[in-house]
């Protein structure tokens, strides 16, 4: 049995879209099938896994079966998975396990979210469900939970509000090169620091937006049957942690990401220095600095140095979130993890147009749910 490879993709623009859940799913399924270079018959796809974070956004149950309508193969099996913001990666994780087990030969993964259906305050009350019940009850929103992590990180390690702002600035700059991105707007450190307070010290321009969008990937046990240039999943791991920030030994780290990364590196049999670029979960930009540390890009308490010295910029030694990240590209929750892997697929195949990075062979995706109760780290290579 060979490595599982990604052979095709579909991807909508992220943003406030007119499409409903059904249109979003339909468009990426059809695009993904039509992009298969050597062609594929619907009956060759035995399983479809959809991912979305919440039905209140999608207004639709049984989205797996809905995807089969567009696949035009009602004999395939289909279901949906959920793990808050990491739903998309979880779907890919499960697809790979099913392929490795030999259950089917090809799996179609479809991530989506239709968030703009709900008013902002209702969306906030949906998103809060990603935290612990004890936090939910007293109103610790997602931004508030990240805010406390960000506050502690500054207090403990000497990062500044400027460092946090610079992550937002970087990701907005990167989004300028991505036609799928929700924002094509250059912003300054001052813009971030003067934007509206959401949950101190988190401000509006630290937050990923409310987004609609979908992304699909076709994974295969026999990728070369469908393309000469598949992208392989070299290592992929899932890890979990407590739902609540208050329950964690170290709230300045996403421990699940740390655990998942260690497992993924081990499986891929590579080291951190082999990673050429990464897409990480900057749902709230301060956490991107902590993720650098959890992935091993920087030592503990030193993540902020990478944004200060330019390492993680588009032209730096280890570019992070060249797609624009969740902050600039958008964050249609269930699509996000799938979309990260679409970005890495394109970069590794040299198809990323104006945002193409030179000479990249290995890319990493880090996608976590809530403040990190679920984390999936994926290492992809040619």
């Amino acid at each position: 049995m060979g490595e599982v490879g990604i052979v095709s993709f579909g991807h909508t623009k992220y943003g406030i879209l007119k499409d409903d859940t059904s249109n979003l799913i339909g468009s990426v399924v059809e695009e993904c099938l039509s992009r298969v270079e050597k062609g594929i018959e619907p009956k060759e796809i035995g399983l479809v896994i959809t991912s979305c974070a919440d039905d209140q956004f999608s207004n639709q149950h049984q989205t797996g079966a809905l995807a089969l309508r567009y696949l035009k193969n009602l004999d395939a099996e289909a279901f949906r998975v959920e793990a808050a913001c990491s739903s998309g990666s979880l779907a890919v994780y499960l697809a790979r396990k099913m392929l490795n087990a030999g259950y089917v030969d090809n799996v179609l993964v479809v991530g989506f979210e239709k968030m703009s259906r709900l008013p902002t305050e209702v969306a906030t009350s949906v998103l809060i469900r990603g935290g612990s019940p004890e936090e939910n009850r007293i109103g610790i929103t997602q931004p508030a939970a990240y805010a406390m992590m960000a506050q502690l990180y500054m207090e403990k390690y000497g990062a500044t509000e400027d460092d946090y702002a610079k992550v937002s600035v970087k990701n907005h700059n990167n989004a300028l090169r991505n036609p799928w991105a929700q924002f094509h707007k250059k912003i300054s450190v001052e813009d971030v620091k003067s934007s509206r307070l959401i949950a101190s010290p988190i401000r509006l321009f630290h937050c990923s937006p409310i987004s609609d969008g979908a992304a699909a990937l076709l994974l295969s046990r026999r990728p070369r049957d469908y393309t000469d240039t598949p992208v392989y999943i070299k290592g992929m791991a899932l890890a979990n942690d407590t739902l609540g920030v208050f329950e964690r030994d170290d709230p300045t780290s996403v421990a699940a990401t740390r655990k998942a990364a260690a497992k993924a590196f081990k499986e891929a049999n590579i080291e951190v220095k082999d990673i050429d670029f990464a897409e990480v979960h900057d749902a709230f930009t301060p956490v991107e600095l902590m993720i650098y540390e959890d992935l091993g890009f920087a030592g503990k308490g030193e993540g902020y140095r990478l944004i200060r010295d330019g390492t993680v910029e588009f032209d730096g030694a280890l570019p992070v979130n060249v797609s624009g990240g969740l902050k600039g590209k958008g964050h249609p929750i269930g699509a996000t993890g799938v979309g990260m892997m679409v970005e890495i697929f394109l970069q590794l195949r040299g198809e990323a147009d104006q945002r193409q990075l030179p000479d990249v062979e290995i890319g990493l995706a880090e996608n976590h749910g809530g403040t990190g109760a679920t984390s999936v780290v994926t290492i992809l290579g040619r």
């Binding site: 906030t124 004890e134 109103g139 929103t141 508030a144 406390m148 307070l197 101190s200 208050f246 709230p251």
Partner: protein
């Protein structure tokens, strides 16, 4: 004793919550708990500070609260009372001073009456300063409020009491006479409220009490300008209550009836007797009685906002 590990002021709040609130993580005896913290503590919060965790029954069930150890304030609570040299304003200033407030006493000019009020407040052991300003001038008011905050550090309570009357039938009232009363009695309330609000928001809350009048409701002949302004104050009060509840700022209006002040002293004796005879309690009210109501709204009244409260011995029901 518990320790505060982290906190955040949540400005965008999900339902069912309506107002900004502070959340945090506190640790007691090695056990960490997500907590709420009363917004009034905002200015004094520090990571690592000590406090106690208590449980409160709320609509959302039992919620843990962290209360920081008593933080010594520079001086005490501060009230700004406009038009406080004499009359109802003076009584309010003294009543609040008796309850532990330092007083910024506003009037349009310094006066012996004002100086005496200041001395009386100081004799109660409180700080007092004369804050001269014409409330109808926003730039005057802004300077005054900045001066009060600079000297006393905060404003917990604003009492918009300053008012004038120029009584005429409308046919005899000049546009200038109309405007003058509107400027002081209505625009003055806007000016002082606008200047004080940012300080209250930053401090985590406050109380605003506007002195309206029974005249806002009962159509007093000869007081079209006064009644219109005082009615405007009631509407303004309701809007402020809704706009700033989220910042823990409570705003109410008080409508006195026939109170023994210079204003009612100037009513011709025959007319005054006739008016008093129609009051169920059969007498004029004392400024001190109004002051006690204002003090209640300033100190207690934690579940009262956007209301007009009449204090008139049943003269208008």
């Amino acid at each position: 004793m518990a320790k505060l590990l982290a906190y955040s002021l949540v400005s965008i709040v999900p339902p069912p919550f309506k107002t900004e609130y502070i959340v945090g993580i506190a640790e007691d005896d090695g056990v960490r708990t997500p907590v709420r913290i009363d917004r009034s503590h905002l200015k004094n919060l520090k990571i690592g500070m000590s406090g106690t965790i208590t449980t409160r029954e709320t609509d959302q069930g039992e919620i843990k609260y962290f209360t920081p150890e008593e933080v010594k304030l520079e001086g005490g609570k501060v009230a700004l009372v406009t038009g406080a040299a004499r009359g109802i304003g003076r009584a309010i200033a003294i009543e609040l001073a008796e309850r532990g407030y330092d007083i910024a006493l506003n009037d349009i000019e310094t006066s012996t009456d004002g100086e005496e009020t200041i001395k009386e407040i100081q004799s109660l052991g409180r700080r007092a300063l004369f804050a001269v300003a014409d409330v109808s001038s926003y730039s005057d008011v802004q300077k005054m409020v900045n001066m009060v905050v600079e000297k006393f550090g905060r404003i917990d309570v604003l009492v918009n009491n300053a008012g004038i009357n120029i009584d005429r039938l409308v046919t005899n009232m000049s546009p200038l006479e109309w405007q003058k009363v509107i400027d002081v009695n209505l625009t003055g309330v806007f000016n002082c409220t606008k200047a004080v609000l940012p300080h209250m928001i930053a401090a985590g809350g406050g109380r605003i009490i506007n002195i309206s009048s029974q005249g806002a409701l009962d159509g007093p002949v000869g007081q079209a300008n006064y009644a219109a302004a005082k009615g405007g104050v009631v509407s303004f009060t309701k809007v402020i209550a809704r706009e700033y509840a989220q910042y823990n700022i409570l705003c109410n209006a008080v409508a006195p009836g026939c109170i023994r002040t210079r204003m009612t002293d100037s009513i011709p004796p025959g007319q005054l007797r006739e008016r008093v005879s129609k009051i169920p309690l059969g007498r004029r009210g004392e400024p001190g009685e109004v002051a006690k109501l204002v003090a209640f709204l300033a100190e207690d009244g934690t579940y009262i906002t956007g209301q007009l409260i009449l204090i008139n011995a049943g003269e208008y029901i």
